[in-house]
């Protein structure tokens, strides 16, 4: 089985000596779903953002799809990674000046240099998969949050990525809209997509994930399968966190 | 690797820039030698041999060019200062009228603003000068020797102002007041709606609420806009030349026509305005700091 992500002892400190990441190591194999959980400020967003070079780190090494990066920022390698890794953000981050279809085709046309016909065809196919093909000509501000997030997922899928990163994809959504997005993510997992998801959605984590990584103050506290984590977490702090979430 | 690349890129840019400036200066020197002018400032001490109708300090044609420039400076500062004060007063009235509840006042002030802003300042100045002052019949307005307005200009408590000065002063003030009015309105609008509701619910009158609650909060948003309007006013005052008021630009222009010293005069003009800009900006920054300090006490 191929290893997609291999993180070896990475650390990152903020200016005041605070550690955002403290000696983190992990591994994700192909087709697996890793869910990262933890209280806010625990470094989970920082961790996932190092995977495609949005955050730098001070020590250690990351290997994504066989491409190694270390503390020395290497534009070319990071660019290579970004072309093969998709990312979905909490705030959707669609481009407000482009219509939905243009949002989706922007990268395929300019990064992968595909033909317009092909890019638009595939974009429409993705939109119909997400159940929002009727909005193709609209602009982001005319869509609901759930719809926008589905467009954002379609936008990353348009590049046919080998790994998808989700940074709290449902945190900015109205409660009744959350499932639209989670359903799409479930389907992706079933189709064998390798995913790393930062989320607070316990049910999603229970059903879909292969592994749960629990972080607190920049450290990995525990890594377990969901069965163990949710019923019988090894660590005191994990149990405390889960208790608070239940309330 | 990356750092060397950046360093060389910057070095190349500097060299290109120096090269370009070098070519231009080279051309300039050739042209100056050709026209037999050279480049120096000794001529500043020669007699100006032109008369000025408007001078705060004694001036005669036998005085030097440098003295004439100083007179121009003073004339510029005079009109800028007068207009600055008057346009602020007018601007505040207009800005407040724009937020007034009285629909008629609101409409009139908004018409005033759009009309003034959508016509060129130069045209307005010419209107004030040729129609407003030179077009007047003698003794148009005369309030028992306190305020006289006629073709000789304005006379106010024995302080007589030439028609050129008056036209420039009124034109600049009216023009700038429209912009200041918008700045004031913007500042007032920027204050949260809840603040209006809360002072009203406390039983404060509209006027007290405006003065004690709204305006202090609006000031931080108003000051930067006001600063840039004052700078514009100072720059716009150079249009004085169109109606024959001898400000710093007009005097530079006259000197260039007489002596052909265009480069030197241009340099003087640039320095003048850099200093003027810096002093206005500094002054406004001080005011801003003062307000911010007070704000802390209020909070």
């Amino acid at each position: 089985m191929n290893t997609i992500i291999k993180v070896k002892n990475i650390s990152k400190s903020y200016s005041r000596g605070l550690l955002a990441l403290d000696n983190v190591s992990l591994k994700v194999n192909q087709g697996k779903v890793l869910v990262i959980m933890g209280p806010s400020g625990s470094g989970k967003s920082t961790l996932i953002r190092t995977f495609n070079g949005l955050e730098t780190f001070d020590a250690g090494e990351i290997e994504i799809l066989g491409i190694k990066i270390n503390q020395n920022y290497n534009e070319r390698r990071i660019q290579k990674i970004r072309k093969r890794v998709g990312m979905v953000f909490q705030q959707f981050n669609l481009f407000p000046h482009l219509c939905i279809l243009d949002n989706i085709t922007l990268a395929p046309l300019n990064v992968q240099k595909r033909s317009r016909v092909e890019a638009e065809e595939y974009g429409m196919y993705l939109l119909s998969q997400m159940g929002i093909s009727m909005h193709a000509e609209k602009y982001p501000s005319q869509l609901s949050g759930g719809e926008q997030q589905r467009v954002a997922i379609a936008r990353t899928l348009a590049l046919k990525p080998e790994l998808l990163l989700f940074d709290e994809p449902t945190s900015a959504l109205d409660p009744e809209r959350i499932n639209e997005v989670l359903d799409v993510m479930r389907k992706l997992a079933q189709d064998g997509m390798t995913m790393v998801v930062v989320t607070h959605e316990i049910n999603f984590a229970k059903e879909v994930s292969d592994q749960i990584l629990f972080m607190d103050s920049g450290k990995v506290i525990e890594t377990s399968t969901p069965d163990i984590f949710f019923s019988n977490a090894k660590h005191e702090r994990s149990r405390k966190f889960l208790n608070q979430l239940d309330k | 690797m990356m750092r060397y690349k950046r360093f060389f890129l910057q070095l190349i840019i500097i060299l290109l820039f120096i090269g370009l400036v070098g070519i231009l200066i080279n051309n300039l020197i050739i042209n100056l030698i050709r026209t037999d002018l050279g480049f120096n400032f000794y001529w500043l001490l020669k007699p100006a041999s032109f008369a000025l109708s408007e001078h705060a300090l004694p001036f005669s044609p036998s005085d030097s060019y440098a003295w004439a420039l100083l007179i121009g400076w003073i004339n510029s500062l005079k009109v800028i200062l007068f207009s600055l004060i008057f346009s602020t007063i007018l601007g505040i009235i207009i800005g407040l009228s724009r937020t007034s509840k009285n629909i008629l006042i609101k409409k009139i002030s908004s018409f005033y603003i759009t009309f003034i802003r959508q016509t060129p300042l130069l045209l307005q100045l010419m209107f004030w000068y040729f129609v407003g002052f030179l077009g007047l019949k003698n003794k148009f307005i005369n309030f028992s020797n306190i305020l006289k307005i006629n073709t000789q200009g304005i006379e106010f408590f024995g302080l007589s102002l030439t028609p050129e000065f008056s036209a420039l002063f009124i034109g600049l003030s009216v023009f700038t007041s429209a912009f200041i009015g918008e700045v004031i309105r913007g500042g007032i609008i920027s204050v949260e709606k809840g603040q209006w509701e809360s002072f009203r619910s406390l039983g404060l009158s509209e006027r007290d609420g405006l003065i004690k609650v709204i305006i202090p909060q609006a000031l931080p948003a108003i000051i930067p806009g006001l600063t840039s309007q004052y700078l514009n006013l100072a720059k716009n005052s150079t249009l004085a030349i169109a109606i024959g008021y001898s400000d710093i630009y007009a005097i530079n222009d006259t000197i260039i026509n007489q002596t052909g010293r265009a480069i030197e005069c241009f340099i003087i003009l640039l320095l003048t305005f850099l200093i003027l800009n810096l002093s206005i900006t500094n002054l406004m920054e001080k005011i801003n700091k003062l307000i911010n300090k007070k704000q802390i006490y209020i909070n």
Partner: protein
């Protein structure tokens, strides 16, 4: 205690009454003043005003001293400008035209130069015969279209991480914004020839366009910079994570979004530029205001100052208002987008 309360209530009552009566009083006075003004203006319009200076010189105001039999050329150019303005505001359904609007806009400059200067089969006209509204529009259109890309470039340079680039553009922008426009225009007219090698001459219209471009680009740069700073950082992050490189982010994300945010400010720059072209009337070009001044200098039309100024003010006012309305409409349309 009780008395105090009554007193207080009474005070409050009086305050409200006074406020309202003051308001009413103001309204009455204003209505009266407006009435008087209207009456006076009406009286003047019917009895005293003489419009011969305007009515007999309309072609002069529009075309300046452009040869009479060639006036169709500036006319065509102005008409095509109007058409393209209209098409930009109310975009047609045809996608190819919408995509090529930018090219059409850029094409307006060579078209204008060809139609005005002539050559290639039509009679050549010297630039000293350009004048009136035609010249005003030529100066505005050319200067703003040259200044926009330069301003965008300067804005990005000022944000650059290269120290030298940043400093040079900051110095340029700040010093340009510190000097009065008339000094820059003066520089264009009198000093540019001094900086050019012998034998190379640029005609005064192009020197004016050059000076306006230098001046306005500094202001546009600051507006664009404001727009750039208003773009949330997350936009750049999401573009990066899609694999777009630096130049692609600038081209597809930063430029369109900053232009959209800066649109109201940019409109004001264009309106300001349109009005400021009138300064060239002091520096020897006979654009719209210059024509007005030369007509007023004609003894035949002596004393018709008010009429000519009112006429000129209305022309400037109408065109500026149209520009402002156009921009408002465009803004509204872009708001969803």
């Amino acid at each position: 205690m009780y008395l105090k309360k009554i007193n207080k209530n009474f005070k409050k009552f009086r305050e409200i009454l006074l406020l309202n009566s003051l308001n009413n009083f103001l309204t009455i006075i204003l209505v009266f003043a407006i009435f008087i003004t209207f009456l006076q203006t009406f009286n003047w319009l019917i009895v005293n005003s003489k419009w011969t200076a305007v009515t007999t010189n309309i072609p002069l105001f529009v075309f300046g001293t452009f040869p009479e039999d060639q006036r169709w050329r500036p006319f065509i150019w102005i008409m095509s400008l109007l058409t393209i303005c209209f098409l930009s505001i109310v975009p047609p359904k045809w996608k190819w035209l919408r995509k090529n609007l930018l090219i059409a806009w850029i094409g307006m400059i060579p078209l204008g130069i060809f139609l005005l200067y002539g050559g290639f089969g039509i009679q050549t006209v010297m630039s000293r015969n350009f004048g009136g509204l035609t010249l005003t529009i030529l100066l505005t259109v050319c200067s703003s279209m040259f200044a926009l890309p330069i301003g965008i470039g300067l804005a990005f340079c000022r944000q650059s991480s290269l120290f030298v680039v940043k400093k040079l553009s900051s110095i340029y922008i700040d010093s340009m914004r510190a000097v009065p426009l008339i000094a820059v225009l003066f520089f264009g007219q009198l000093l540019i020839p001094l900086f050019l090698p012998l034998g190379l001459e640029i005609d005064s219209v192009w020197r004016a366009i050059f000076a306006f471009t230098l001046f306005v680009s500094a202001y546009i740069a600051e507006d664009i910079r404001g727009g750039l700073q208003a773009i949330p950082h997350t936009q750049i992050e999401s573009a990066k994570s899609l694999g777009l490189n630096h130049l692609q982010i600038i081209r597809f994300i930063l430029i369109p979004q900053s232009l959209r945010i800066a649109l109201p400010a940019l409109t004001n720059q264009v309106i300001g530029l349109f009005q400021n072209t009138s300064l060239m009337s002091i520096l020897g070009l006979v654009e719209l205001l210059g024509i007005g001044r030369s007509i007023l200098a004609n003894p035949k039309f002596i004393g018709q100052y008010i009429e000519v100024y009112i006429w000129l003010a209305s022309v400037y006012w109408i065109i500026c208002t149209l520009l402002a309305l156009m921009a408002k409409y465009l803004e509204k349309r872009l708001k969803i987008a």
